[in-house]
C-alpha cells in the first residue's frame, strides 16, 4: 500500500476522512440512547407480532371486502423507497454526475435494508406465514404475486452485490486501521483486497456492469408490484399506466428518503464537508422533476377515470375526491405536489432545510398515495356486498412502527460498521498503481 499523500489508506488520507472513520469506531451516548429507544419500539412490535401470530389476522381490523390494508400499503411503500439507492446511484454513476460520489453509499444502504421490510410486510400480511414456502413448493406462474417474489429476490440480490462491491476498498482500509474483532471481520469481507491495478480494474468493471444491470431490475420490481393491482379487474386498480406510475412514485419517494437520511447523517456525524449545499440543491432539483412527473401521472390517471364515467370506477374515484377517503387523498396531493413544488421551485427555499421539509412531506404523501390506492378500491367492490370503514388496529400500527424503527436501527448499525461515505471514490487513484502500458485500466471515474 503506497503512502504517497492522498492515496487511499494512507495516513494523510485517513486523517482527512477522520469524521467518517471516527463515526465508525466510536459509539457515543446519544447513539446508545437512540438505539435503546428504537429497540424498545422493536420489542413492542415483537409483542404485537406474537399477538397476531397467536390470534391470526383477526388481530387486524381487516374484513370483507377490505382484505388488504396497512401491511400491503407498507409493502408498496417500502419497495418504493428501495428505489432510492440503487437506481439513483446507478443512474448518476452512468451519466458520470461526479457530485454523486459522497451520497451513493447512503442511498444504496437504504435500498438493501428497506427491501427486507417490503418483503417482511407481505409476510406479516399472510394468514399462514408458516406456509410461505408454498410459493416455492407449488409456484403458480400466472400469479403476479409470484412475479413479485421473483423480481424482488433478484433485486435484493443485485442491490446487495451493488452495495458490497464498492465497499471492498473501504473495508480494506478499515481492515488496515483496526485490530481485534473488527480486523477479523474486515479481513474476511475485504476478500483479500490490496489495491493492485488488476483489482482496481476488476472493481471498476464489476461496478460498471452492476450499475447497468440494476436499472432494468429496479424498474421491473416496481412495475411488477403495480401489476399485483393492475392485473385484477378491480375498479381503479385495472390501469395500464400503473407500471410507470408506480416506478415514478418509487423514485420520487426514494429521493425523498435519501435526502432525509442525508440530512440526519450529516448532522449527527458532522459531515458538512462531504454533503454540501450543492448536493441538496441537485437532489432538490431531481425531487422537483419527480414531483412534476408524479403530478402528471396522477392527473392523467384521475382525469381519464373521471371523464370515462364508468360507474364502478367513478364510485372509487368519488370516494377519494369527495368521499370518506378525501382527507387522505387531498393530504396526499398537498404533500406530494403543493408543498414540494412550492419549496423546490424557488432557489431561495431550495436549501438544506427546505429540501428536508419537502422530502418529509413527500415521504408522508407517498405513503398516503399507497394507502389511497389499496384501500378505496377494496372499499367499493363491484358486487354490492356489505362493506365497513377500515381503520388499522393497534397491532397493525405497532408493526408499522416496528418496521420503521428496525430500519432506522439497522441503518445506524451500518454506520458503525462501514464508512457511510464511499471514501475511495473521493480520492485520486494512486498513480503508481496505474499500469503505464494500459491506461484504460485505470478506474475511469476515480479522477
Amino acid at each position: 500500500m503506497s503512502d504517497s499523500p492522498g492515496s487511499p489508506g494512507s495516513n494523510d488520507s485517513n486523517a482527512t476522512h477522520a469524521p467518517v472513520i471516527n463515526a465508525i469506531l466510536t459509539v457515543g451516548p446519544s447513539f446508545r440512547r437512540w438505539a435503546a429507544a428504537l429497540a424498545a419500539v422493536i420489542v413492542w412490535a415483537g409483542i404485537a407480532w406474537t399477538w397476531q401470530l397467536y390470534h391470526g389476522l383477526g388481530a387486524t381490523h381487516l374484513g370483507r371486502p377490505i382484505y388488504w390494508g396497512l401491511y400491503i400499503t407498507n409493502f408498496v411503500f417500502f419497495i418504493g423507497v428501495s428505489h432510492a439507492g440503487t437506481l439513483i446511484s446507478a443512474i448518476l454513476r452512468i451519466v458520470q454526475a461526479e457530485w454523486r460520489r459522497p451520497i451513493t453509499r447512503m442511498a444504496e444502504v437504504i435500498t438493501v435494508l428497506v427491501l427486507f421490510f417490503g418483503v417482511g410486510n407481505v409476510l406479516l400480511d399472510l394468514g399462514r406465514p408458516d406456509r410461505a414456502l408454498n410459493v416455492l413448493l407449488h409456484p403458480h406462474l400466472r400469479s403476479p404475486l409470484l412475479w413479485d417474489v421473483s423480481s424482488i429476490t433478484v433485486y435484493l440480490t443485485a442491490s446487495s452485490i451493488y452495495l458490497f462491491i464498492p465497499l471492498i476498498p473501504d473495508i480494506a482500509r478499515m481492515r488496515d486501521l483496526t485490530t481485534g474483532w473488527r480486523h477479523k471481520l474486515y479481513s474476511r469481507l475485504s476478500l483479500g483486497w490490496t489495491g493492485t491495478p488488476q483489482q482496481w480494474h476488476r472493481l471498476e468493471r464489476a461496478i460498471g456492469f452492476m450499475a447497468i444491470l440494476v436499472i432494468p431490475i429496479a424498474v421491473s420490481v416496481h412495475t411488477v408490484v403495480s401489476w399485483v393491482f393492475a392485473m385484477t379487474i378491480q375498479p381503479m386498480w385495472h390501469s395500464t399506466i400503473f407500471g410507470p406510475y408506480f416506478v415514478v412514485g418509487a423514485i420520487f419517494s426514494g429521493i425523498a428518503a435519501i435526502i432525509t437520511a442525508m440530512v440526519i447523517v450529516r448532522k449527527v456525524y458532522g459531515l458538512e464537508r462531504y454533503l454540501t449545499e450543492e448536493h441538496f440543491n441537485n437532489l432538490g432539483l431531481l425531487l422537483l422533476v419527480m414531483a412534476c412527473l408524479w403530478f402528471y401521472f396522477t392527473f392523467a390517471e384521475y382525469l381519464t377515470t373521471w371523464y370515462g364515467h364508468e360507474p364502478r370506477e367513478l364510485a372509487v374515484f368519488n370516494s377519494k375526491i369527495s368521499g370518506p377517503f378525501a382527507p387522505f387523498f387531498w393530504t396526499m396531493f398537498i404533500c406530494c405536489f403543493v408543498v414540494p413544488f412550492t419549496i423546490l421551485a424557488n432557489p431561495h427555499t431550495r436549501t438544506i432545510k427546505g429540501t428536508l421539509i419537502a422530502s418529509i412531506f413527500v415521504n408522508i404523501g407517498m405513503w398516503l398515495e399507497r394507502f389511497t390506492i389499496v384501500v378505496p378500491s377494496l372499499s367499493n367492490p363491484r358486487a354490492p356486498v356489505m362493506t365497513f370503514g377500515y381503520w388499522p388496529s393497534w397491532v397493525e400500527w405497532s408493526l408499522m412502527a416496528g418496521c420503521f424503527a428496525a430500519f432506522a436501527l439497522l441503518y445506524m448499525g451500518f454506520t458503525k460498521l462501514f464508512p457511510i461515505v464511499s471514501l475511495w471514490e473521493l480520492e485520486p487513484v494512486p498513480e503508481a498503481h496505474a499500469p503505464a502500458a494500459a491506461p484504460t485500466l485505470q478506474p475511469a471515474e476515480a479522477s
Partner: protein
C-alpha cells in the same frame, strides 16, 4: 365430464334466506353475530345482496355465492395454485396449501371468497352438530362455496356401490335442496336434456357481470317477465 351449474329464478326467490342457513350448517361455517357482520367478518358462502339489474325499477334481492366461473379471476392470481378450476368446472380450494395472502379474495369481482380471520368458533349448543363430511377450516385460509362438492363425492360412491351411473337427483347442493320456493335448479350444463341446460338457454337467463368475461356457471332468471 359434467359441467355443474346452478340456475336461480329471481321470480320465485322470496328472499327467505333458508339457503343461507342450510349452507352454514352443511358446510360447518362458524356462527356469526351482528357484531362480526359490522366489522366485515361474517362467515357465509351464500348471502342476499341488493343488486341493480337492468330493466328493474329498484334493486333486486340476489342470492350471491361463488359464481363458479369458467374463467375465474381468482385462480389466475393465486401464487400457490391453492385455488383452481377442477375438471368439472367447480372452483376448488386446497385449504392446506393456501398461504392466506387474500389475493384471490381481492381479484374476485363478486367478493364471494371469504377469509378465516380467526379460528372458527361455535356456541356450545352447536359445537357437536358439525357435518362430518366437510373439513373444518383453520384460521388464515380462504374458503368459498364448493357447490357442496362433498355431496358429489358421496353420491358418486353410492352410485358406484349400486353399480349404476350418477343420476341427476343424486347430487344437489344444500341450498338447492332446502329452497322452499323451488327457485334453485342444479345440474349438469353439458347435458342438453338437463333442466339447468334448458333454463340456462332460456330467454330469461342471464349471468351476472358476464361482461367481465368471467363466464359464470351460476345463471339467474330475470324477474317480471
Amino acid at each position: 365430464m359434467a359441467r355443474w351449474g346452478l340456475v336461480i329464478d329471481l321470480d320465485r326467490c322470496t328472499g327467505c334466506q333458508a339457503c343461507v342457513v342450510a349452507c352454514k350448517h352443511e358446510n360447518n361455517l362458524p356462527f356469526s353475530t351482528p357484531e362480526t357482520a359490522d366489522v366485515g367478518r361474517m362467515m357465509t358462502w351464500i348471502g342476499l345482496v341488493n343488486a341493480e339489474l337492468p330493466g328493474r325499477p329498484g334493486p333486486s334481492a340476489l342470492p350471491l355465492m361463488c359464481q363458479q366461473c369458467d374463467r375465474p379471476p381468482c385462480t389466475d392470481v393465486c401464487p400457490t395454485s391453492a385455488t383452481y378450476l377442477n375438471p368439472e368446472g367447480i372452483v376448488a380450494q386446497i385449504y392446506p396449501r393456501c398461504i392466506g395472502c387474500r389475493y384471490c379474495t381481492n381479484a374476485c369481482p363478486y367478493a364471494v371468497k371469504i377469509f378465516n380471520w380467526t379460528t372458527p368458533e361455535w356456541p356450545e349448543s352447536m359445537a357437536e352438530m358439525h357435518n362430518p363430511d366437510v373439513s373444518q377450516r383453520p384460521k388464515g385460509v380462504v374458503e368459498k362455496c364448493t357447490f357442496c362438492h362433498h355431496r358429489l363425492i358421496t353420491a358418486r360412491e353410492k352410485a358406484r356401490a349400486a353399480g349404476r351411473d350418477l343420476a341427476p337427483e343424486d347430487y344437489v347442493p344444500a341450498c338447492v335442496q332446502i329452497c322452499p320456493a323451488e327457485a334453485m335448479v342444479f345440474g349438469d350444463l353439458s347435458d342438453p336434456h338437463s333442466d339447468v341446460a334448458a333454463l340456462a338457454g332460456g330467454p330469461r337467463a342471464f349471468r351476472w357481470m358476464e361482461e367481465l368475461g368471467t363466464q359464470p356457471k351460476v345463471i339467474y332468471l330475470r324477474e317480471g317477465e
